[in-house]
């Protein structure tokens, strides 16, 4: 067999193997089995999520440290003893600092709070309770609600 044909077969074999691994990997990932205990958003929370997305809140805010950096992370804002639900209700339409003045209705605010509450149940960020181990690894401490 010529060397070039051998090389092509060799390359195709590697790509084929990677693609098979990738397909299995994705199938496992898309199934709930690869995640911690399933967290289902309520209908109200999903409406809150839609309001969050419609207003592109992620441009400034974060969940789990993912999003923009102009505003604070809101993963645990609802259970934060210095903030909480009342704080959110007061600040959301106030237009503080760079945040524009929104005009959310009472119902919309309730939906957003349901969304924040659902996210708060899924874990911590910043997670100050991690366990560092050898080889640079970090074990994330889970909330009791998702174990």
């Amino acid at each position: 067999m010529p060397k070039s044909t051998k090389n092509i077969l060799y390359n195709q074999l590697i790509i084929g193997s990677l693609l098979v691994f990738f397909a299995i990997y994705n199938l496992v990932l898309y199934k709930n089995g690869s995640f911690v205990k399933k967290q289902v958003l309520s209908e109200t929370a999903i409406m809150g999520q839609q309001i969050w997305q419609d207003n592109n809140c992620t441009a400034c805010h974060q969940f789990y440290g993912l999003g923009g950096y102009l505003g604070p992370d809101l993963t645990n804002v609802i259970s934060d003893t210095t903030k909480g639900e009342i704080y959110i209700r007061n600040i959301i339409n106030a237009g503080v600092k760079a945040m524009p003045k929104y005009h959310f209705s009472e119902q919309e605010i309730n939906q957003l709070i349901a969304y924040f509450k659902a996210i708060d149940q899924t874990g911590y960020f910043p997670n100050r309770k991690v366990k560092e181990s050898n080889y640079g690894w970090v074990d994330v401490v889970l909330k009791d609600s998702i174990r």
Binding site: L41, C60, Y64, G65, K97, A98, P100, A118, W137
Partner: protein, 440 residues
């Protein structure tokens, strides 16, 4: 030569201009929070900046690949008309994306902020590109050079990950928050990996052409690099999500894979620069300069990326501006330098009498020096934010932001200088490309 290849490049350069302009405008909101806050607030400006930056890379890579397919490789572009349809389709999509953001009809997801319906024509455009590309490169080519593999991989995975990024539209998928978040960031990470395949493929193509050595695209090492990049694209995304409560195996796979990234690319470009005769460096002066810059940025970003891929360090850098430093360093320092090198190469081979003006050299130096300082401001802001997150002595978020005012002023000034450098290059490149199209 296919004129639509040049049209893609001009459109890409216009996107880069919009990205820089809006980036500077939005950065001012860090130091003047009330600036335009009721009309063009950050939630509108940032997605325009992000979409324009991504468009610059994708449109430029597409234009360069069309140009090389139609002009410089052994192949003949399968259909010039299809490339034209692709161009006008992407132009219409681009305008629709800007309108959807300005009128608030958005999807509100990182990177994919536009109205979700627009993903249908976007996928159509990529499928057309895939059809045209594979039809072109299948002609007479027996032993594909690595860049053909990389471009094909980039296009195919782009289709897959753009679709994956919209799985949230399925209600049952969306209701599991952690899964939704993880898959969202998986698709974003691999979307970036897909365009990296296009851009890194271009860099290898350029090196073979400048050096006149085909072996550069056929060696074992270069294919090893390709497979490594492919493995990173598939499995290396999870450093975005180390801190999210997923199962450990997902994170372990990502940790192992991402540790290998970029080492080989650095080696390939470095070996190329070292071995290139002086006369060839001079003949491809601008392309060569940008490739040297890309190599230095690969080296600098490599250090940051490797550190950030270690979970114990990622723990402190995640959710801070250090992530932005890494993103900006990659997008401007590596991807943009390679694409500008390719545009410089296209100009030099299309117009052999073209003389590089002094202001282009000035812009090149200004861009690289100010980018370095720009990234330093992000690292400083990131360290301060991390300190506030993990060693907070009761200061509020607002107080932390106020304490960083001087750093943000530095970020705005250096960002402005980056934009000035880019602007000079954009104007020069557009003028030259338009003249070239008019003449031919």
């Amino acid at each position: 030569m296919n004129k639509y290849a040049i049209y893609f490049l001009v459109l890409a350069l216009i996107s880069l201009f919009i990205s820089g302009l809006v980036g500077v405008l939005s950065s001012f909101q860090y130091i003047y929070p009330n600036l335009l806050k009721e009309s063009l607030h950050f939630a509108k400006l940032r997605p325009i900046h992000v979409v324009s930056s991504v468009s610059w890379i994708i449109l430029a890579a597409t234009g360069i690949i069309y140009f090389f397919l139609s002009t410089h490789t052994k192949t003949k572009l399968f259909s010039g008309k299809l490339a034209g349809f692709h161009f006008y389709l992407f132009l219409a999509i681009g305008l629709s994306i800007y309108l959807s953001i300005l009128f608030g009809k958005i999807g509100g997801r990182e990177f994919f902020v536009f109205a979700p319906l627009l993903i249908i024509p976007i996928l159509l455009g990529w499928l057309l590109f895939a059809f045209n590309y594979f039809k072109s490169v299948r002609q007479k080519i027996v032993n594909w050079p690595v860049y053909y593999w990389m471009w094909g991989t980039g296009i195919a995975f782009m289709v897959f990950h753009l679709s994956e990024a919209h799985l949230w539209l399925i209600p049952s998928f969306r209701e599991n928050y952690i899964r939704d978040l993880v898959i969202q960031w998986k698709s974003v990470g691999s979307f970036v990996g897909s365009w990296n395949q296009l851009v890194y493929g271009i860099s290898i193509y350029l090196m073979t052409k400048i050096k006149g050595d085909k072996k550069l695209a056929h060696g074992k090492l270069v294919f090893f690099f390709y497979f490594l990049g492919l493995a990173n694209l598939m499995f290396g995304w999870a450093h975005h999500t180390y801190i999210i409560p997923t199962q450990s195996w997902v994170r372990i796979v990502a940790y192992v894979i991402s540790m290998t990234e970029w080492v080989i690319l650095f080696h390939i470009i470095y070996s190329f620069i070292k071995s290139l005769p002086r006369e060839k460096r001079k003949a491809n002066s601008m392309a060569f300069r940008f490739l040297v810059a890309a190599d230095i940025w690969v080296f600098l970003n490599l250090i940051l990326a490797l550190l950030m891929s270690i979970p114990a360090i990622n723990y402190f850098t995640h959710g801070t501006h250090i992530t932005v430093a890494h993103t900006m360093g990659t997008m401007i320092g590596i991807n943009s330098m390679i694409l500008l090198a390719a545009i410089g190469y296209i100009i030099s081979v299309s117009q052999p009498l073209f003389q590089i003006r002094k202001r282009v050299i000035f812009a090149y130096k200004l861009l690289n020096a100010s980018l370095f300082l720009f990234l330093i401001t992000f690292v400083v802001a990131g360290i301060a934010r991390s300190k506030w997150m993990y060693a907070n002595q009761g200061a509020s978020f607002g107080e932390m932001q106020t304490s960083l005012h001087a750093v943000y002023v530095g970020m705005v000034i250096t960002g402005l200088l980056v934009f000035v450098g880019l602007l000079i290059l954009i104007v020069e490149a557009i003028q030259t490309l338009v003249t070239f199209v008019n003449k031919s």
